[in-house]
């Protein structure tokens, strides 16, 4: 962690994502109000907060996964590299190729391990030939730290892997599309501590190539993997800052109460 901390202090990180005045409604219910948040490039940003505070909702705004929810409405501005992702001419499919996502429960396709990773590149036309696709799949599995475990059974179903391996397969599937941003929605909540440790290690390695936003229930996890932390409470962004500052010297009483276990 100390190494990660040094890294975050030594370099200036420009904001990859900027959210300004974001309100989200589910029907009549307001789930998020007035969120303004910068997500720095090549860092891990953790979104923490009690259940139902809106952190997952905010995450799903970043790749417009909320679009598929009936009655969901997003107001305000979210930009990636300065371009509004809710603009009329923004193509959602292109956006999701730039912004990958890993879900709470591992959800590999019921296809082979190879097909799981090859699917994204294939539909986006990232690999012109068989050879290139093979290399891309192997490279992605390698980066996800799964190649050593599955190199001899790429044709086995992805669902035959253990929970932790499935989640790394999902990460491999996400990075195979070569996204700029990876969203992780409580990626370890269904995993045992050993599998969790592997994923956390992986997140730290992936940070050099990708910008990562992770929603987590575990404050320890936020402290271990992230450089920036944002604390959400009841649909509002209470406080944001460097992870060290949030956990050692929170400015807001609610943050203080949450990280010491009094609320949430």
């Amino acid at each position: 962690m100390s190494q990660a901390l040094k890294h975050s202090l030594s370099t200036e990180h420009r904001a990859k994502v900027q959210a300004r005045g974001v309100n989200v409604y589910y029907g009549d219910k307001k789930a998020l109000s007035g969120i303004g948040l910068d997500i720095p490039e090549h860092q891990v940003s953790a979104l923490i907060g009690p259940s139902g505070c809106g952190k997952s909702t905010f995450l799903r705004c970043l790749n417009r996964m909320n679009d598929i929810i009936e009655g969901c409405r997003v107001e305000g501005a979210i930009t990636i590299d300065g371009a509004d992702i809710y603009a009329k001419d923004q193509d959602v499919v292109q956006l999701r190729a730039r912004v990958g996502m890993v879900f709470q429960k591992p959800n590999p396709f019921p296809k082979s391990i190879y097909e799981n990773v090859a699917y994204g590149p294939r539909i986006h036309g990232l690999a012109p030939g068989r050879k290139e696709l093979d290399d891309l799949v192997r490279d992605s599995l390698e980066r996800a730290g799964l190649m050593g475990e599955v190199h001899d059974r790429l044709d086995h179903p992805g669902t035959s892997l253990s929970g932790g391996q499935q989640q790394r397969l999902c990460i491999a599937r996400a990075i195979a599309v070569k996204p700029e941003l990876i969203l992780m929605d409580e990626p370890c909540s269904a995993l045992d501590p050993i599998a969790t440790a592997k994923i956390e290690e992986l997140i730290d390695e992936l940070r050099t190539r990708f910008t990562i936003v992770i929603v987590t229930h575990s404050m320890q996890q936020a402290a271990r993997v992230s450089q920036r932390t944002a604390f959400f409470h009841m649909g509002e962004l209470v406080e944001t800052g460097s992870t060290e500052q949030i956990f050692t010297n929170p400015k807001d009483d609610r943050t203080q109460a949450y990280i010491t276990g009094r609320i949430g």
């Binding site: 996964m65 598929i68 999701r96 994204g120 539909i123 599937r173 996400a174």
Partner: protein
């Protein structure tokens, strides 16, 4: 102490309730199986004799004089030749003592009218047989057949049986001379319907059912699956789609004869499509099957976990790619099962086909979807409605064939389900 006693009693009651429930369940299952067994056994008892047919051995001379065709041997003249005469001559040779016209008529009635057609086919195949004498096994008439199978008893009073005392005497003589034989009834599986029970076959109805279901499948399967996919995965939720959904559910419950009336009014009277044709029957049954397929397919799509859709969308698949690459393949076994169950229902349907004229007596085997045809359940109904006793066993045999097809279709559904099923 009292507490634990009360607890014991409560525990015992709970176990008693459990045992009672098991007994109810076993009783219900057993009585269901009993009824099914009684039904199947009674069908087997009535129907098994239809698979065998009596044949009588006769020495036939292909005499051009009896045939009344002079010296012509081309197929056209042979078709109109008097083959009935050859059989009469052969019978008179066997029973020279019979001379009275009425008695002769009774004697001739022992051999099926179809026997003449059999001889006709033989001679057409080999015109060189003209003038020669050969021995042939020819089909017996339905009453003779029933007597051979023991269903007409000579002990019954003459007035109550279809065969006279004289006929029974001749039949017994033929039997004791070894000139009567029960053989597998191939005609039942190769011919169409007939007024004569011993000539009636199921093949025409089987082909009629096949063509009808072909039309039904071709229309209702793609339409149903595409409608289900659109309604379940793409259609916006608004009053219009709600109305469509309610209507589809209601259509599935509409009595089938109403679809028949619709077919009569629209396809026959308005579009002037051919009557009694598998084409119209298939269209009507497709309308009837469509809601079943849509409902089953939507249920199958609904059962696909949303995480698969999210996974596909999150790697940048379009909604259509998500559905066709991931959701539909997972829902396929359920869709196929629904379609086959719908088709099985269509196979067993009679009422709507009555309205569009598929209930007519059709002896020819249909060669396409526009030829007049009947279908299996209608054929069974027609035979059940016929006065000749020998049609009883034909009816039961027809039911067996229908049940055989239904079981086969359900087996296909099970196999397809098993083959395409994927775990997630």
């Amino acid at each position: 102490m009292t507490d634990s006693l009360a607890n014991d009693i409560r525990l015992r009651r709970r176990y008693q309730a459990e045992r009672r429930f098991r007994i109810y369940g076993i009783t219900a299952t057993a009585s269901g199986l009993l009824f099914l067994g009684v039904m199947l056994v009674s069908i087997l008892i009535i129907g098994h004799s239809a698979f065998r047919q009596s044949f009588i051995k006769l020495d036939v001379t292909f005499d051009p004089e009896v045939l009344q065709i002079g010296d012509k041997t081309d197929e056209e003249s042979l078709r109109y030749a008097h083959f009935q005469g050859l059989i009469r001559v052969a019978l008179r040779e066997k029973f020279p003592e019979v001379t009275d016209r009425r008695e002769l008529r009774e004697l001739y009635a022992l051999v099926s009218r179809g026997a003449a057609d059999v001889l006709c086919e033989i001679l057409i195949d080999d015109p060189g047989l003209m003038g020669q004498r050969h021995t042939y096994w020819l089909p017996a008439s339905d009453d003779m057949d029933l007597f051979v199978k023991g269903e007409i008893k000579s002990s019954a009073p003459e007035i109550e049986r279809q065969l006279s005392d004289r006929q029974i005497e001749w039949a017994e003589r033929l039997t004791s001379d070894g000139l009567v034989d029960l053989r597998f009834n191939t005609a039942f599986f190769t011919t169409g319907d007939s007024r004569e029970p011993e000539l009636a076959g199921i093949w025409g109805a089987v082909k009629g059912s096949f063509y009808t279901l072909l039309v039904t499948l071709a229309l209702s399967f793609p339409t149903g699956i595409l409608a289900a996919i659109y309604l379940q995965e793409f259609a916006p939720k608004n009053p219009v789609t709600d109305l469509i959904e309610v209507n589809i559910n209601n259509l599935a419950a509409v009595p089938s004869i109403v679809f028949g009336l619709l077919g009569l009014a629209v396809f026959l009277n308005f579009f002037h499509m051919p009557r009694s044709a598998p084409l119209v029957g298939g269209v009507v049954l497709a309308l009837m099957t469509l809601p079943v397929i849509i409902i089953a397919a939507r249920a199958a799509l609904l059962a696909v976990p949303p995480s698969i859709r999210e996974a596909a969308l999150a790697v940048g698949a379009t909604p259509m790619q998500t559905v066709f690459h991931h959701v539909a393949p997972l829902a396929l076994p359920g869709m196929l099962t629904g379609a086959i169950i719908g088709m099985a229902r269509a196979l067993g349907e009679t009422a709507p086909l009555l309205m569009i004229g598929m209930v007519a007596f059709i002896a020819d085997i249909p060669q396409g979807v526009t030829d007049p045809a009947t279908v299996l359940p209608v054929q069974i109904f027609l035979w059940a409605d016929s006065p000749e006793r020998a049609f009883m066993s034909k009816m039961a045999a027809g039911i067996m064939v229908l049940l055989g097809f239904l079981i086969a279709m359900n087996l296909i559904a099970v196999v397809l389900r098993h083959r395409f099923e994927q775990k997630w």
